[in-house]
Symmetry: C2
DNA sequence: CACCAAGCGGAGATGCGATCTCCGCTTAAG
DNA sequence: CTTAAGCGGAGATCGCATCTCCGCTTGGTG
């Protein structure tokens, strides 16, 4: 966690004056509250909500973060770094295919745990620029994992790096709908997709999650 | 209330009710405009928009359709019947696997062509009841197609009927994001998923659509 | 053709919910 | 103790969708 976002970001303060202790404390509270609410309810939560959750007045929230964008940036830098670390770990895995599987699983889990992250990175609605910048930082490591699995003859050759985020997008759609009923259902479909991604296979891989039963299904789809 | 929609199971049968000629004409215009706007821009379009598109006053729209629900029902009955017909055609296909593939393709195309249909049937946001009722009418035929493909030893056994709509949901997510750039991209991922669904396969099936190039990718994901 | 109720248009009333400001009060810091 | 930084949160403002109301138009009938 960084202290002040950056030195050259505020229009109202040429010299960077340190915040008063209580002010800095409140600032952190707001970020923490935003993190939690973004994760649980998405990027559309109101600043009023975040402020209330943080236990500060609305005015305080608006004083520190002129707009919602600043707040989102402050919150998601950490999540982005985590994703990058995951890709590098995947690349370090001894087996290329298993590394790819790990990457799908770990990334999918991050997205499953954080609705705001899904929106920021996978959905177009909230800020094109941030998503583009984030993906630019992620692409190299992800591409390397994919290429390595192809060179090992384990991943089909007609897959490209751009397929990775689109597959995550598909899984995110499942997560989004089943989150309250079967939060790990996305793993079922990931297994299916992985069986499609494998270059050769004679038997289906056991699915990672059972199908929804009637009740779960109704709750998920309605 | 005693209009035609209430007891009408058939959209084509006006059960004797005096509606002045110009009124009936306007009613049809509103339905046509709604169909087009729902398909293109989703179920959230305002009734004002629909009225303007239909070339009638807002008052006229509200006079015929007390609420948006009535209008949606009037518009989607036809689409639903088409989906049911598709499932029955799939069941009539001589090869069970090919029948299933056809069902995925044809249904996916309907969804790709109609954003409103995706929202009404796949997303929870707009009216649980309609979606549930629609799925109830669809399930029997879809289940039959799936079961038949499994009995023929072509579809893996651990798939269940509830997987069908969830796979369509995933494809719908791709469609939603790529619609302006590569409207058929969803077929790429359908091929992948089908390769995962097949019971046995030694070689990957050629993908139905090329991966996005850099420009297309940027436009899709941002 | 004459008549009139059915129908029409669309401005605007209503409601809702988010954003952001303002100012009197509180408190950290020197 | 002094004082300016900071606080809270009511409420002003804005935007936007829903739905109504009423004076005018028109189809259908005798």
């Amino acid at each position: 966690m960084s202290r002040r976002t950056s030195s050259a970001a505020h229009p109202e303060s040429p010299p960077v004056r340190p915040l008063r202790a209580d002010a800095e404390r409140n600032r952190q509270r707001v970020i923490a509250a935003a993190q939690e609410l973004f994760a649980r309810r998405g990027l559309d939560v109101t600043l009023d909500d975040i402020a209330r959750h943080a236990g500060v007045g609305v005015g305080t929230a608006y004083r520190r973060f002129a707009n919602r964008e600043e707040l989102i940036d402050a919150v998601f830098e950490g999540a982005l770094q985590h994703l990058i670390a995951l890709a590098e770990q995947a690349l370090a895995h001894e087996d290329p295919w298993e590394g790819l599987v790990q990457l799908f699983l770990a990334t999918g889990q991050d997205f499953a745990d954080d609705r705001g992250l899904r929106q920021a990175l996978l959905e177009s609605t909230h800020g094109k620029d941030r998503a583009a910048a984030a993906r630019e930082r992620l692409t190299p490591a992800v591409s390397a994992v994919i290429t390595r699995a192809q060179q090992a003859g384990q991943l089909r050759d007609d897959i490209e790096p751009s397929d990775f985020p689109l597959i995550q997008l598909m899984l995110g759609a499942v997560t989004q709908h089943s989150r309250n009923v079967a939060p790990e259902l996305w793993k079922r479909y990931l297994t299916l997709i992985l069986d499609g991604l494998r270059r050769d296979r004679d038997h289906p891989t056991p699915l990672a999650h059972p199908a929804l039963d009637q009740d779960e299904f109704d709750q998920t789809m309605t």
